[in-house]
Symmetry: C2
Subunit: 297 residues, 2 copies
């Protein structure tokens, strides 16, 4: 009945990765002959070719491409399962893999992680920030166990809980003309250089909740990866940015940054933590959410 073995998936992946049978064989600590034989047997068992032999190189058939997809999807899960079992073996509880869909939350997360690690010495924490299929996909695909995100998703299979609220504010240098404003209107940004994280504009609050409704664009839009550099740029008067108020307040004194309310009401934000429903009763996972729900010091 069963034809497809883990080894087959490893081979498909290795060949695709290294481009040739010989290279793959070396990687897998096998001879070229061995590989050639096993793939032949696999193809016979499946009844379909997996590679097209084009001269001295291999190209995946349609079936092969499909198989590669399966390999890329399942092998990491098997690897991860082994890792986890190894951890169980060592008396550890496991690794809490946290996904982040919220750039500035990283600073907040660090504050949660520290006490958590102390409280759960036998649980490791890993944080991921890039997902091929988005945070939700990563949750469903078992790439992560928790997702920190501003967009909750109330669907069967997942559970989301709000963990903290904050206000998204404009950040300007203390020498900036807007620094003394109580709040600003969208038009007041039309002459400014706006610095943001490298994310689609429609996922940036300052766009979709402030600028876009008013039909305003900033003079320029610069993109920067890291919060620290971003703030350096703002402090040196190169532009303005939008960040959580609590984050700005930490830097205010040392860097000369000023938070300014966006609009008369301000932009209120809420951050959620999501998990798989099936994991709902894992104690060290619940504990993290519990800890995260405490107000930020």
């Amino acid at each position: 009945m069963a034809i497809l073995e883990r080894a087959h998936l490893e081979i498909v992946r290795a060949v695709a990765q290294h481009g040739s049978l010989t290279a793959a064989a070396k990687k897998l600590h096998l001879t070229q002959s061995a590989l050639s034989h096993t793939i032949k047997k696999l193809e016979q068992a499946l009844g379909t070719d997996v590679w097209l032999r084009e001269g001295r190189s291999l190209r995946l058939t349609q079936a092969g491409q499909y198989l590669l997809g399966v390999a890329n999807r399942l092998l990491p899960q098997l690897d991860q399962a082994e890792d986890r079992l190894r951890q169980y073996a060592q008396g550890e509880r496991g690794t809490l893999r946290i996904g982040m869909e919220c750039h500035p939350c990283y600073q907040w997360l660090l504050k949660i992680v520290a006490p958590y690690l102390a409280q759960w010495p036998d649980v490791d924490v890993d944080v991921k920030q890039k997902f091929q299929f988005g945070g939700i996909g990563a949750l469903f695909g078992y790439e992560i166990d928790l997702l920190v995100t501003p967009d909750p998703l109330y669907k069967p299979g997942l559970i989301f809980e709000p963990v903290f609220d904050y206000e998204q504010v404009l950040v300007v240098s203390k020498h900036h003309p807007l620094a003394t404003s109580k709040y600003i209107n969208p038009e007041q940004l039309s002459g400014e250089v706006l610095i943001t994280y490298p994310v689609k504009t429609d996922r940036l609050d300052i766009y979709n909740q402030f600028l876009m409704p008013a039909g305003i664009s900033p003079k320029r839009h610069k993109v920067i990866e890291t919060t620290d550099i971003m703030l350096q740029m703002v402090a040196s008067g190169r532009g303005v940015t939008a960040l959580p108020r609590w984050l700005v307040e930490e830097y205010t004194s040392e860097m000369g940054l000023v938070p300014v309310r966006l609009g008369q009401q301000g932009i209120a934000k809420q951050i959620f933590i999501g998990a798989r429903e099936t994991d709902a009763n894992i104690d060290y996972l619940k504990a993290f959410v519990e800890l995260a729900r405490q107000p930020v010091s």
Copy 2:
């Protein structure tokens, strides 16, 4: 490096399914001795027990429960991959697995599927209606390839497209007092027996868009699985229900059913088809969505 093989997962699953090593061995066409040997070796390789030996029975350890979860998640995917490769081998393109999160859409789907099967003779179609982790989970978990649903989800990794619009209407027997109304208000249902599909009430349009906003409940709420029986009940005056207008109109003449608008504006609905982004370029999948987008005859 690699310890966990497919066979191990099969064993864990079989033992959990049949309750004992001996039973599992029979199912797997192995001897009890063989199983006992392999699981012992597995436990040694992992460095952790998978089962607790309690007298003459086995109970999963924590690691074992985790492993069972992995098995239940991954084995179906491997099986499915083999099925699909077998189809490739026979010159077929594959199976289009369609998930439905919209009860009455089934009738609509049948109309799409018929011409589709004619157009794509080498593609099979399978329809699923129950999902452990919801339709979205089933998409991400590769249980289905397309999802027919009233709630689209615009998240990375998934693509949703609207396929048709319709009006959700109340269905009553032609002898019913409300049968001559141009439209009805929520209060007019307070004395009625409401028949619906077995779905949480907050997912029923007639509740969340009509009754609940007005704070009204029907006299009674009956639950029925199949559309046909539901309509029989309505025709015989046992209650009223809410369905798409086009669906009612097909039955109107033969059964003496009358559609009545819900509220002055009526309830407008839209149905979407969702797919994984990675599948976006699969021709027979695109073709289905294309076909579904055509207006219903």
